[in-house]
């Protein structure tokens, strides 16, 4: 099959002829392959053994900067919207901050396909949780779910990093989870290829008692710096605010506008 060749799958897919094996596919096999329709946690089993994805010429979409921090007025999440595949920019309008439920917002970083799939599973599960138990899923529970997924798919090339933000009766919580099974809660995180650039601005200027406007400004400034220094970060910068009652998009700005604003600021400052 041409797609198989294009992806370089032949090198590690030991099946002799895919089209032949397709013909022999039984009802049972078919159900196995599409098992994720019935149970989202089940994906078709990967190639026996651990597939070595380093030899596959798969270009997985990645390159992002997303940041989030907790301050007195809630949680701020900020991310760019560029999605790139190798050296190519695939889209400039990808939504990387997505609502998981009415209480939880997440940011996506890493392989777009992985992130999108597992985000949808998470959204579905949290909705079902709400219907079953008549209370929203907590951020920790959502994080644990992603953590288990990561653990289930260790070594299969799963690649994602998420920030989950939300409010519980105990207060705001911000959790970082990724495909290594890491699950840490904290006050201030940045994920993606431009993370170190964003942290350079965010860390020294962060205070817990920022006002709303100061917090938004700080998030935009940090992300603006990341779009300058990191090639795979850019496009529209989206700023989300998660408050005790609801979450909302505060601003959606083209990073060019931010460059104009903040580089001028920088010049005045010096």
């Amino acid at each position: 099959m041409s797609l198989e060749e294009l992806c370089g799958l032949k090198a590690f897919l030991k099946t002799t002829n895919w089209s032949n094996s397709m013909r022999q596919i039984s009802e049972h096999d078919f159900q196995e392959i599409t098992s994720n329709f019935n149970n989202p946690y089940r994906l078709m089993a990967p190639v026996p053994g651990t597939p070595d994805l380093t030899n596959a010429s798969l270009k997985i979409d990645h390159g992002t900067t997303a940041l989030g921090f907790v301050y007195q007025g809630g949680i701020v999440l900020c991310a760019d919207s560029r999605s790139s595949s190798g050296i190519n920019v695939t889209t400039q309008t990808m939504d990387k901050i997505v609502p998981v439920s009415s209480q939880i917002v997440g940011t996506l970083a890493g392989g777009s396909a992985d992130c999108t799939y597992w985000y949808r599973v998470l959204a579905r599960e949290s909705r079902l949780h709400e219907l079953r138990y008549k209370r929203p899923m907590s951020v920790d529970a959502a994080a644990k779910m992603i953590c288990h997924v990561s653990e289930m798919h260790r070594g299969t090339g799963l690649n994602m990093g998420m920030l989950l933000a939300g409010y519980s009766p105990k207060g705001p919580s911000l959790v970082y989870v990724d495909s290594d099974g890491v699950n840490i809660s904290g006050k201030r995180f940045s994920v993606g290829s431009g993370a170190s650039n964003a942290l350079g601005i965010l860390d020294p200027m962060y205070r817990f008692d920022l006002t709303d406007e100061e917090a938004f400004d700080l998030a935009l400034q940090s992300l603006c710096q990341a779009t300058l220094c990191d090639a795979s970060t850019g496009g529209m910068v989206v700023l989300h605010h998660v408050g005790p009652a609801a979450h909302r998009i505060v601003r959606k700005v083209d990073c060019m506008e931010l460059h104009k604003k903040y580089s001028l600021d920088a010049r005045n400052f010096s």
């Binding site: 290594d180 699950n183 904290g186 940045s190």
Partner: protein, 214 residues
């Protein structure tokens, strides 16, 4: 890069663990507690691949809790260490594409310790190759390389909790002086016949006027 330290005394075991959580070159969190309370008188501190350590520690502590529920009494200290070791050994030799292989490969240098009413204190040193050894003092990670000499010099069989805490201070002073990685804070916990207690964390700040030679 992470460091765990442990000292066994006649009737207690004290553990120290740094609180830095790093991913590649970025420090993600500066107050991560790596000393987990597995039961009323059992502490587990773990270091290694962060996802694995968390998953594995949770697996072990939940199983220890399950054992108590089923039998009405706690797993003995040696049994808990053996259970942990057996799991690591099984993972090490498994070929299952999921948890098995991966959990074992990277996980868990770990110190595993508890205080038991009948057997007294026990400090088990367990690593990812499924070595398990009962020791008087132990350490994991790069930081521990500087500590063995300090343990040898200052540890004695009748050591008190204050002395053990002081040994940790000496170790941490040395780690912060000589180790290329910045490990600012260390959490300290102790388990004795009264159960588990968290002691004052040892940080660069708290050590400013500490004289290690005294």
């Amino acid at each position: 890069m992470e460091t765990l330290l442990g000292i066994k005394g006649p009737d207690f075991v004290m553990l120290a663990a740094d609180t830095t959580h790093a991913r590649s070159i970025i420090v993600m969190k500066e107050d991560q507690n790596k000393i987990h309370k597995a039961s009323d008188n059992l502490l587990i501190s773990t270091t290694g691949e962060s996802g694995d350590t968390e998953q594995f520690t949770e697996f072990i502590s939940k199983n220890i809790a399950l054992y108590k529920m089923r039998n009405g009494y706690d797993l003995s200290p040696r049994a808990a260490a053996h259970f942990t070791r057996k799991n690591l050994a099984d993972y090490l030799r498994s070929r299952t594409p999921y948890q098995g292989l991966h959990v074992c490969r990277w996980v868990c240098f770990r110190i595993h310790q508890r205080y038991d009413e009948t057997d007294g204190a026990e400090l088990a040193f367990i690593d990812y190759l499924a070595n398990a050894k009962s020791l008087n003092h132990a350490g994991h990670g790069y930081g521990a390389m500087f500590c063995s000499s300090i343990y040898d010099r200052y540890w004695h069989p009748n050591i008190t909790q204050d002395e053990a805490y002081d040994i940790f201070k000496k170790c941490i002073v040395e780690i912060q002086k000589r180790l290329v990685v910045n490990l600012k804070n260390f959490n300290v916990s102790v388990v004795d016949k009264n159960g588990v207690r968290n002691l004052e964390p040892i940080s660069a700040q708290s050590l400013t006027d500490y004289n290690a030679s005294s």
